[in-house]
């Protein structure tokens, strides 16, 4: 891999203004030990997703109403929209399932989808 040769002689006038190049990790992997990548396996009009999209899941977040989440419903990973019913309980739409407890082997929210990434060329 050819590297640009370092300048000898006078120091570059830009050097003292140098900043680190933009990092996608810094932007999208904001809490690494809590984040997991996931791949979408089929198109979904409802959630505006295409087959092959990558989703980044942040398990440290509490979902807000209307946000997309990865939920385990009947022991399968599903994409769902989190809503809060009038009685204050959390629901997973469109499955209309109540958010339960992982340890009680109920349906539960595995993590909040924090970003969606689509590649146009592989």
């Amino acid at each position: 891999m050819p590297e640009i040769q370092e300048m000898t002689g006078f120091q570059s006038p830009c050097a003292e203004y140098a900043e680190d190049r933009l990092s996608l990790d810094e932007r999208f992997l904001t809490n690494p030990p809590a984040m997991y990548p996931l791949r979408v396996s089929s198109d979904s009009k409802l959630f505006d997703l295409k087959k092959g999209d990558h989703l980044i899941i942040d398990r440290s977040l509490d979902p807000k109403p209307g946000e997309l989440v990865i939920a385990v419903i009947s022991n399968e990973f599903k994409i769902a929209r989190f809503t809060i019913a009038q009685n204050g309980e959390g629901y997973l739409m469109p499955f209309n399932k109540k958010v339960g407890d992982v340890e009680a082997e109920e349906d539960f929210i595995w993590g909040v989808i924090s970003s969606q990434h689509r590649k146009f060329r592989s």
């Binding site: 030990p33 997991y36 990548p37 996931l38 398990r59 022991n75 990973f77 992982v102």
Partner: protein, 415 residues
Amino acid sequence: MTIGLVDCNSFYCSCERVFKPETRGRPIIVLSNNDGCAIAFSREAKAIGFGQMCEPFFETEERIKKHKVVVFSSNYTLYDDMSKRVMTLLKNYTPELEVYSVDEAFLSLDGYDHFDLVEYGKKIRKDILKITGIPVGVGISKTKVLSKIANKLSKKSKGVWVMNTDKEIDEALKNYPVRDIWGIGSASARKLNLLGITTAYEFKMYKNENLIQKMLTKTGREVQEELRGVRCLEMEEVEAKVNIANTRSFGKDTYSKRELQEAIATFATKCAEKLRYQDSVCYGLSVFVHTNAFKEIEQYYGSGSFVFGSGTSDTIKIIKAAWHVLDQIYRPGFGYKKGGVILNHIVSKNENQLNLFNQDPSDNEKLSNVIDLINNRYGPRTIKSAACGINHAWKLRADYITKRYTTNWNEILTV
């Protein structure tokens, strides 16, 4: 003075369950390298009689069928990443973390005494479970030995146990068998039993300290002091590895030298990668191969070592040296079942003293670094020395292995 011990429940099984939620509530066992025997058991598996370390897998087939036990080959890549996640998160709850093993860590909680420690323990447990999916037990007390005991007790009380007053501690110790104390082996426990000591409380109160010192040496005395709430075992810094080893059982008995050479070269390659990863060099290595100790055949155990003129982390040099040792220890006619490479005399690269009279111009450090770079980008062992071979006949069995969900783009979860 407060110290916490957090330990992951049935760690390997719990890691698998994170990505296989359908296994919740079902018994899980995880098999050793090469699928030889069970090494980890979920709570449900223990309840139906599993739990005996290294019970041969084939002897358990009937029970597995009957109770619909879920069986996994060990997926160490996944467990390692999940362990790192847990440990990184735990750093949020303490200024000082000592990672004691893959699934447990001590947390210094000095100065946290004004916190409600039960609530703090509950928060740790709740957060780790939510973020990693792994249930943990939290034990909090005055010393390491006491926090270990508190951790054991946490299993029976929703995952958190705090004992900080003398009354709480003594009550717990009175029901705690001396043989279950951390640092007291079965031999020491028997000696204490001879003195009439059966519970941790009796050990704590035993007055003849000189006798304890004589019978159980300094370690035993320190444990006794720790039971009394006097801290003897301090938090320890985790250092760079002093030895790096890669050893494996082979999938089948291996007779040919060619196959052994491939295996040894692969082990050596992995060791060298780890060595460069921690910016170190090694001055020596040893290699061993041996036959299957569980079979009634003629046994052979061969081992030997090699010393380098100067420190190296060069894969090719390390393979050459390992093969040189293998040449000396290989005896034809034996069916080899296990082998390994161990690098020793490891120092940081900066401390590596070049040998004045024996400067080694053949060290391919740059080449090795480029290989690491490519392998990091395109996947492990995209480029490797041809010495490692292509078809690994000796390769491990792993019939029930799950995906590397967190370290390989081709194996992530899909939904």
